[in-house]
Every structure is written in structure tokens, then in C-alpha cells.
């Protein structure tokens, strides 16, 4: 079952420059520019992109 297909599709197509909410905008950019595997690695292993985010603005607790 794929309940959020419409949201995923919107995220793929929308122009992120029109999104006011910065967290939403960053994630939409991620969804449009990164492979799913890269997003997964960033999430699970704190690959370089994720770690840079932390250094710029500490925010993310893995637990």
C-alpha cells in the first residue's frame, strides 16, 4: 500500500523556491536532487551531508 504517493509526487514536482517553511523546503530539495539510497544513507549513517547539517545547526538526535 502506498498511502502517501500524492505527497511524494507533489514533493518531486513542486518548485521549492515557493515553499516558505525552511525545513519543508530543504526536504523537498533533498527529494528532488538525491537518490533514495543517498537519503537513506544520510538518515541511517550520518553520511557527510547530514553531518555538515549538524555542524551548521545542531539539531538532530538519533534517538
Amino acid at each position: 500500500m502506498e498511502p502517501t504517493q500524492s505527497l511524494l509526487e507533489i514533493a518531486k514536482e513542486i518548485n521549492p523556491n515557493f515553499i516558505q517553511n525552511p525545513v519543508l523546503r530543504e526536504l523537498v530539495i533533498d527529494a528532488q536532487t538525491k537518490l533514495v539510497t543517498q537519503i537513506a544513507d544520510d538518515s541511517h549513517y550520518w553520511s557527510d551531508t547530514k553531518f555538515r547539517q549538524w555542524r551548521e545547526h545542531s539539531s538532530h538526535n538519533p534517538w
Binding site: L27, W46, D48, H60
Partner: protein, 346 residues
């Protein structure tokens, strides 16, 4: 934990990890700073000398009471990220977090956080929510917002049922707390809090189709493991104290053999595919049946939905509606601007 065991755990884990990905080491509870500065100095220097700064990354989860300039120096020098346990404003934090004199630790912890911030130490806050938090949700958010502190909340979960009834919160209460905090975070006018966990993870999952929350990992044991001070290896530290869930002991076996243990096998199977209730659920592909430890607490076994299953459903629906609304507004703005642009050109 003795230093030889610590080094062995790190080195063996690293050798089994994909070499293109960093190995993250989280030092946590009870209170990891009790091990002392000398212990961590040696560990951090050893890992940097042998593996480099970005190959093994250390993170510490502390109650914040022992932090001082010496700790700040070592954390900054070695690029250590620090999570501090702070349960909100004093009225909430001091109810359960007390020092030896039985006084609350809020003043000490908050002062230490302020100093850490001045020193530009990378830190965030983990806030445990209990029954006591329920009447103070807005105060909780306002506190972090006014102080511009990104935070994550975790519900208190007690294995003892009497304690759980006294201190813990129900799935319905948890859903109310998170949806309310989500709204406060998502609709901030003056955006003083960038990330609030777990709301960030719900948004992440819904927009990318990839979950980033450890509770929603399909098979968390493929990329997490925990080592207790006595060398027992578990899927997660939540299982420490349950010898039946230990994969083996690093003082007696090597990590490769430990990870081949039969005890680990259930942790490598996607629970979500084996739980009947999950097959009919709209959110199955995002929550993956939730946390196995939360399932164990409620049901006595892991092949059941997470204790907070009903909360997750409510929160996912709430966040999905908010995102659809927000992206709809952005989409209409985009269309409007595109329309105006065509009129201008004409």
C-alpha cells in the same frame, strides 16, 4: 567500560561496517561522563590517529551536570557532538532530575548549556516527556523556543507496569502531545527552532518515502548495535539487562561471531511483514511496525505492533494533512506567479 573493550568494540564494528560510510559511536547512559576526561581523551585521540576524524564520529548523551570547561575543550577539539538531557523548564526538569542533595539539576544544566553555546559546542537537547508534562506542553515548547534550542522528545517508557501507569503516558496522550508540538513547530512565525524531533522525522518520511527515525527502522539491527560496559552486545541499549536478547559478549568472542548469533536473527527480519495488524495499515511502509523494544514491553514479544502504534497513525495523518495544505499553498503561489509572469510578458 574499560578502555581496551571500548577500543575493541569500535575497531571491530568499524571493520564490519561499509568502509565508504562513517561509523558513529554514541556514548550514553547512565551518565557517560563519569568515565572521566582521561578515558575519552585517549579514545578520541586513538580513533583520530588510527582512523581519521570523519571515519569514526563520537557523540555523547549526558545529563549535563558534569560539563565544564575541560569537557568543552575536549569536545570542541575532537568535534564531538553532545546531546544534553533537559526536560524543559525548571518546573518540569526538576521533578525527576535531581542531584545527590535531592535538589533539581536545572540551574546547573541550563548554565552549562549556555556556556556550551558560547563556546560554539555542537549540542542538542533530549527531553523526556512523562505524565507530569501533559499539563505543560505549551510551557515546554515556549521554553525551548524562547531559548532557541532545537530539541527532541522521547516518551518515558517503564518496563514496570505500575511505574508506567504512574509516570508514563498513554498512546492517545502521546499523540496529543506530538501533534500539538508539531503545530507549534511547523507554524512558527519567528522560526527560532529549526528541528524538533520526532516531527522532523515524520515530515522526512512523508516527503521522501525514507524514514530517518530509529523507531521506524525496518531492521534496526542492520545498522545499530549496542555494547554494554560488561561487553554484552545487543541490537539496542534498550535491551540491556535482558540477557536473553544478548547476541554474545565481546570479552569472550569476536564481533563477527557475535553478529552471527541466532539471537540476532529476529532483529534482522522485517517485523512489519510478520505482523497481521500491519498488513491492513495505511502507514506500514513508513513506520515498519515501530520499535521492537516498545512492542516487547507491551506484548511480551516483538512480533506485535509498537506500544505507540495508535499514536503513530494519528501523528502521520496529522502531519500529512499539514504538508498537503502547506504544499498546496506553495503550489498555488507558484501557479499565480507563473500566471502573472505570462501576463507581464504579453
Amino acid at each position: 567500560m574499560d578502555i581496551y573493550l571500548a577500543k575493541s568494540a569500535i575497531e571491530q564494528s568499524m571493520n564490519l561496517n561499509d568502509s565508504s560510510l562513517p561509523t558513529n559511536v554514541y556514548w550514553h547512559g547512565a551518565e557517560p561522563l563519569i568515565a572521566g576526561i582521561d578515558f575519552y581523551s585517549k579514545i578520541f585521540e586513538w580513533t583520530e590517529e588510527n582512523f581519521g576524524l570523519d571515519t569514526v564520529r563520537h557523540h555523547i548523551q549526558t545529563n549535563g551536570t558534569l560539563l565544564n570547561e575541560h569537557w568543552y575543550d575536549i569536545f570542541i577539539k575532537h568535534h564531538i557532538t553532545v546531546g544534553v538531557s533537559l526536560d524543559g523548564p525548571m518546573i518540569l526538569h526538576d521533578r525527576h532530575r535531581k542531584v545527590k542533595s535531592r535538589e533539581g539539576s536545572f540551574d546547573v544544566v541550563f548554565s552549562n548549556i549556555s556556556e556550551a553555546r558560547k563556546r560554539k559546542l555542537y549540542f542538542d537537547v533530549l527531553c523526556v516527556i512523562s505524565r507530569d508534562t501533559l499539563d505543560h506542553i505549551d510551557e515546554l515548547f515556549n521554553f525551548f523556543w524562547e531559548n532557541k534550542i532545537d530539541f527532541g522528545v522521547e516518551p518515558l517508557i517503564c518496563e514496570d507496569q505500575t511505574q508506567q501507569a504512574e509516570l508514563g503516558i498513554t498512546p492517545q496522550e502521546y499523540a496529543l502531545v506530538i501533534t500539538h508540538l508539531f503545530d507549534r513547530w511547523f507554524y512558527q512565525v519567528d522560526r527560532k527552532i529549526k528541528n524538533f524531533v520526532p516531527a522532523y522525522h515524520y515530515v522526512h518520511s512523508l516527503l521522501t518515502g525514507v524514514n530517518s527515525y530509529c523507531n521506524f527502522s525496518k531492521c534496526c539491527s542492520t545498522h545499530y548495535l549496542a555494547v554494554s560496559p560488561d561487553g554484552d552486545v545487543y541490537s539496542c541499549i534498550m535491551f540491556a539487562g535482558h540477557p536473553e536478547y544478548s547476541f554474545g559478549n565481546l570479552k569472550k568472542q569476536n564481533m563477527k561471531d557475535i553478529l552471527a548469533s541466532d539471537v540476532r536473527k529476529p532483529f534482522l527480519s522485517p517485523r512489519v511483514e510478520l505482523i497481521r495488524e500491519c498488513q491492513q495499515c495505511k502507514w506500514t511502509n513508513l513506520c515498519n511496525a515501530g520499535c521492537p523494544h516498545n512492542a516487547l514491553i507491551k506484548n511480551g514479544h516483538m512480533l506485535a505492533p509498537d506500544f505507540f502504534c495508535e499514536s503513530y497513525k494519528t501523528i502521520f495523518s496529522h502531519v500529512e494533512n499539514a504538508l498537503l495544505k502547506e504544499l498546496g499553498i506553495s503550489s498555488r503561489t507558484e501557479a499565480l506567479v507563473a500566471g502573472n509572469s505570462q501576463i507581464t510578458k504579453a
